[in-house]
Amino acid sequence: MFLTFPIMVIKVNTIENIVVWRWKNLFIVGIGVFLLSFVWRYLIKRKEVGKKKAEAGELVKPPITQRVLKEPKFYIPALIAVAVFAIAFPFVFSMYQTNIMVTALIYVVISLGLNIVVGLAGLLDLGYVAFYAVGAYTYALLNYHFGLGFWTVLPIGAAMGFLFGVLLGFPVLRLRGDYLAIVTLGFGEIIRLILENWNEFSFGPSGIANIPRPGLFGIQMSLHSSIIYLYFLMIGLTLFTIFVVNRLQDSRIGRAWIALREDEIACQAMGIDKTKTKLTAFALGATWAGMGGVVFAAKTTFINPASFTIWESIIILCVVVIGGMGSIIGVIIGALILILLPEYLRAFSEYRMLIFGAVLVVMMVFRPGGIISDVRRIYRFEERETTA
């Protein structure tokens, strides 16, 4: 396996009419790779052993994360700690920290939205960012033309997301799996390209500047306090999202989504309208993206189509998968990690995207189910049943 590695290395030289041989690089990378391959093999072996154990013993202890999450003794204090930390955060940490936390929270919200589509309903959507763009442009344009404020546009943005979800959802829902993925990717690109080309409508690639931050009853706020305000607004929106998504998951519709993911044919045979269910998943997911987009526009105060490329969709998808599909806590953790990681990796400057890519691979290889896997809602009916 690592016979191929030295080959990788020799090509580390640069060409510009002159050839620079960088043997030193070869040496360093060679040694690094040699050591890494040992670690790699060891970890793979350990994983294999774990797998075998799981196959041999019928009942494997649920992973520690799961046990912690199930045990009220643990999770109640943990919840309180998180709450305290969340409230104290903007006062303890700097404006910069608060600002990136706002970004991370936006991603939490939209990732939870995508989680409905991908995690629950099992529809692979690679063009999710389109709805995010719809939300952002809704706010920017309504504000520019009609001077509408943040709070007015937030529900409008959500509605626009929903509308576009339905519009784009209709033609594609016949498709399955990867065909769906590529068509959604196409739609994502179409929306971006239209924004880029249709100058009269969207101001083209130069974007829209001077989008106001959210106001609080017209009070003028300084930058720092408005960021703190935005932070708490996002905390609120995140809680609202968690609340709603959690309930949706527990509802008749949520069950239909999961059933759809598990087995489409059986799902239909059980009387579930496939098209309608898919469409609701698609549209509801888009709704959160629309809302997230409004907040995004308000936060950056400037938007242009370059913020809504396919990479953005991919990152959001990574959040959902890395966090653990279908698991709300997993997605939240995933969003925090994936969005904050590149920021904290700033110290590694040019190496950070390299590390980011490697982290994705390593995470998937060793935890293919995501950080929080298999946390699925368990109905607890025993008590009620005995009384019933």
Partner: protein, 279 residues
């Protein structure tokens, strides 16, 4: 629904007076050049247990798929008439509408929702009988809460009936094989059908399980008043359960009649000889 009509075995005599609850006329289904079903006629009457048998590949499952709306048939007419209602045409209806009209099925290869709990599986079956929408789900208004409670109770009651109440909160994928088959029946029953289509319910079951299944099917018919159309290879089960039997081979109906008539039908024996020595 009318539960306990007693004259079960002589149900056949009453047919002539009654309308069939499922009537299929000249049903034909082509896959490319292959004719899987060849102008098949079939009728099921209320409170009957009807079996559809035939060698492997005879088109039995295709028949189910056509009635339940998974495949659009090439030709033919399919009508259902829920007890006390006017007949409706099934042609062109989507599977979920067929189910909503009171036809429920199970699958030859078990198709449960493996990562959902047993209870949830049954709750999915209730889906089309419920009405709460997105907003209700998000904000839990009173109607939704009540509905949810009702669903849980009904589903649990259903599990009890089928004898799966011990597994309520287990993942469907962790159930023993026989229990998975029964769960599929429970899930189908949860959709409130008047006719239950069972696709090889006894496949892979041991003797004990098969006997329990036999009792269960009879009980479903007697207590719930649900008629049953089943595909089965276990001839002992077929013979003891069925009121009437249809035999198909190469997509054609080669015989129909009571178990006794079928057992002695030369065409059936010919079709089965060398193919399967099951009976």
């Amino acid at each position: 629904m009318c539960g306990g009509s007693t004259g079960l075995k002589n149900a056949k005599q009453q047919h002539n007076a009654m309308e069939p609850i499922l009537e299929v006329k000249t049903l034909t289904m082509d896959f490319g050049g292959l004719r899987a079903l060849d102008s098949l006629d079939l009728a099921v009457y209320q409170n009957e247990i009807v079996a559809l048998i035939g060698p492997n590949g005879a088109g039995k499952t295709t028949f189910f798929n056509c009635i339940t709306g998974l495949f659009p048939p090439t030709k033919g007419e399919m009508l259902i008439a829920p007890p006390g209602k006017k007949p409706t045409k099934l042609n062109g209806l989507k599977p979920n509408i067929v189910t909503a009209n009171g036809l429920a099925r199970t699958f030859q290869n078990i198709r449960l929702f493996p990562n959902m709990t047993v209870l949830e599986n049954v709750m999915i079956g209730r889906h089309c009988r419920l009405s709460s929408g997105i907003l209700g789900a998000a904000f839990r208004n009173r109607a939704t809460v009540l509905e949810e409670e009702k669903v849980v109770e009904e589903s649990y009651a259903m599990l009890k009936k089928i004898g799966l109440d011990a597994f309520v909160n287990d993942f469907a994928k962790n159930l023993p094989y026989g229990a998975q088959r029964r769960l599929e029946i429970a899930r189908a029953m949860a959709t409130d059908p008047f006719l239950l289509l069972l696709d090889e319910p006894a496949a892979g079951m041991n003797l004990q399980e098969t006997r329990e299944l036999d009792e269960l099917i009879v009980r479903i018919r007697d207590e719930e008043g649900i008629s049953i159309l089943l595909i089965e290879h276990d001839m002992k089960l077929v013979m003891s359960l069925s009121d009437r039997i249809f035999v198909v081979d190469y997509g054609k109906k080669i015989a129909q009649g009571t178990p006794a008539e079928i057992q002695n039908n030369p065409a059936v024996i010919k079709a089965y000889l060398g193919e399967e020595i099951d009976a």
